[in-house]
């Protein structure tokens, strides 16, 4: 049980290692680097949402805190990127505790609203606190991070670095869900009352996982800052929080792998759309970029309508054929009663 997850992890590392040999164009490598940031944040979010059942529409703010801590401390204070990243994590832990302790007493839409409101406040602060964040003009000239003396300033190097961190995050996440703590979290999702009846300290567990998922986001943010070398409030807005949430849901929120798949696919979607645009234009068809918004919305809608468990289960079901379908159906029917 759970062993296939670890086989999956090995496959994951093998794929990451070979991709730069298969894709020689650095542009696609860089698209995948951005996908890695989303992936990392989404793994954290799926631990919170899919396993512990607690929603957050404010995670982009944690990504932002990580990015800004890294940006400010390296540019203004001259810290080393690694120290700044660590400081970002510490800061995010403190902020997550501050907001999480009162917010996690809430449920459902109220928790959604609280995380959302908090995220928006941090965004407004990022825009308004010009002295620290540079305001809308942002912080530029953030240094690149280096590993064992190797400066990670090419796309390939950063590709390996960022996906290795995703891999580590994935490894921690997978271990966690197959452990005592992970079972406790899933129990909270299943039935909070029952979890408490066997002694699961639900408030403590919720806050722990909230903090952990915020840390994932923070590291994703720091990596973003070191890769782009420039940050402004734009990428940490609420739209990005919603996007992260969507990635998790599209991939399948009850599996960590779902978050990975969802993050990669939705990160690649704009590329697919621009490919579509080019192809239409290349054969002389009149096609306007404006339609891309429509296509984006439609894809999201179709996935949610027809593959409600997310791509990972949905595709698995399609692959599993009719027999598998009946099985799951029976499962659902009895679960529904």
């Amino acid at each position: 049980m759970g062993r296939q997850d670890y086989i999956g992890l090995c496959v994951f590392f093998a794929v990451v290692l070979t991709i730069p040999f298969l894709i020689t164009n650095d542009y696609y490598i860089s698209v995948l680097v951005f996908a890695a940031f989303n992936c990392l944040a989404c793994i954290g979010l799926s631990l919170l949402l899919g396993y512990a059942g607690q929603i957050s529409i404010g995670h982009a703010a944690f990504v932002g805190v990580g990015a800004y801590a890294s940006g400010y401390l390296t540019v203004e204070m001259g810290w080393s990127p690694w120290m700044a990243m660590g400081a970002g994590v510490v800061l995010v832990v403190l902020i997550a505790l501050l907001i999480g302790v009162p917010a996690l007493r809430l449920k459902g839409h109220y928790l959604a609203m609280a995380t959302f409101g908090f995220g928006t406040i941090l965004y407004i602060v990022a825009v308004a606190a010009v002295d620290f964040t540079g305001g809308p003009a942002g912080l530029s000239d953030i240094p690149a991070i280096s590993l064992f003396g190797l400066v990670l300033d090419t796309d390939k190097r950063f590709f390996y670095f960022s996906w290795a961190i995703v891999g580590i995050g994935l490894y921690f996440g997978l271990n966690l869900i197959h452990s005592r703590v992970g079972r406790g979290l899933r129990a909270i999702h299943g039935s909070e009352d029952a979890a408490e009846s066997v002694g699961v300290d639900t408030p403590f567990y919720k806050i722990q996982i909230f903090v952990l998922s915020a840390v994932y986001s923070s590291i994703a943010g720091s990596l973003y800052a070191y890769y782009v070398n420039y940050i402004d409030p734009g990428p940490f807005s609420m739209m990005h929080s919603v996007l992260l949430l969507t990635m998790v849901a599209v991939g399948g929120m009850h599996k960590v792998w779902g978050a990975v798949i969802g993050a990669i696919l939705l990160s690649l979607l704009p590329e697919f759309l621009s490919f579509l645009t080019e192809s239409f234009q290349a054969v002389g068809l009149e096609y306007n970029e404006d339609y891309n918004t429509l296509i984006h919305g439609s894809i999201l809608l179709l996935i949610m309508l027809f593959l409600p468990e997310g791509l990972i289960d949905g595709l698995g079901r399609l692959a599993g054929g009719v027999g598998g379908m009946i099985n799951i159906k029976r499962h659902q029917d009895s679960a529904g009663t």
């Binding site: 049980m1 759970g2 062993r3 670890y6 921690f172 996440g173 997978l174 271990n175 966690l176 197959h178 452990s179 005592r180 703590v181 992970g182 079972r183 406790g184 899933r186 129990a187 999702h189 299943g190 039935s191 009352d193 029952a194 979890a195 408490e196 009846s197 066997v198 002694g199 699961v200 300290d201 639900t202 722990q208 952990l212 009850h254 029976r330 499962h331 009895s334 679960a335």
Partner: protein, 253 residues
């Protein structure tokens, strides 16, 4: 060690203006099966919820092993060795049967967030032990074969058994059953009765809220009758059955 394992002294719970539990006094002797019976709405489940911390008493004292345990959170109550089942079965339907019972071992294991995330489960001693123990309790209720199944796909009878196995995995001193036979067929009810008796033989004190009188009279050492949140009678099954107050309460004036 006091003779009474659990003692409720002037316990009171008011919802809005409605008195659900009205200065109730009740004691449960160690190692016995005590049943609480009474008409619908008599406040039986409320009593369980007060004991296990899901509700805060409006007044009175709950003594467990001679110590007051009022107002503790449910997970603290569980840590004292009090386990319970729920009237509407509460299992973790997205997890496997075995995993459900493994959650029951929560208090008997210790890995925290960090230790849990560092090593995969098959490299961890504690994880193996948890799974071993869980299998043991699953066999105890006769469900060893179902270990890999998704808990949500079980029929109701097995779900109640599973809930019991999960509670037993806590190795509690006191186990509260909230209508364990509701929704079960005759055969399953008998099996449940046998299981509860077996649990008592292990030295665990059992408190039972149940509507199935046959089951109650079969296995209980003591029966307490509650009506409108008040204790109206107490005794052996035989005594209670002939008590005129009880008959009035059930049949009306």
């Amino acid at each position: 060690m006091s003779k009474n394992h659990l003692e409720l002294i002037n316990l009171r719970k008011v919802f809005g203006g409605v008195v659900a539990v009205d200065d109730l006094n009740l004691s449960v002797r160690r190692g016995t099966i005590t049943s609480i019976i009474g008409p619908n709405g008599a406040g039986k489940t409320t009593i369980f919820n007060l004991i296990t911390g899901y509700l805060k008493p409006s007044g009175g004292i709950i003594k467990y092993d001679g110590r007051a345990v009022n107002g503790k959170k449910p997970y603290r109550v569980a840590a004292l060795g009090i386990a319970r089942t729920f009237q509407n079965v509460q299992i973790f339907s997205d997890m496997t049967v075995l995993e459900n019972v493994m959650v029951g071992r929560h208090l008997r294991s210790h890995s925290g967030l960090l230790r849990s995330s560092l090593l995969p489960p098959f490299f961890r001693k504690e994880e193996k032990k948890i799974s071993c123990d869980a299998e043991k309790w699953l066999s105890f209720v006769g469900m060893a074969e179902e270990a890999g199944r998704s808990a949500g796909s079980l029929p109701l009878g097995s779900q109640r058994m599973l809930e019991t196995a999960r509670a037993l995995a806590m190795e509690p001193n006191l186990l509260l059953f909230d209508e364990p036979a509701s929704g079960l067929n005759a055969r399953e009810t008998v099996a449940m009765g046998e299981l509860i008796s077996k649990i008592k033989e292990m030295g665990i004190t059992v408190v039972l809220v149940e509507h199935d009188m046959e089951l109650v009279m079969d296995i209980s050492d003591t029966v307490s009758v509650i009506n409108f949140g008040k204790h109206i009678a107490r005794g052996t099954p035989a005594e209670v059955q002939v008590n005129p107050d009880v008959i009035t309460a059930y049949l009306g004036e």
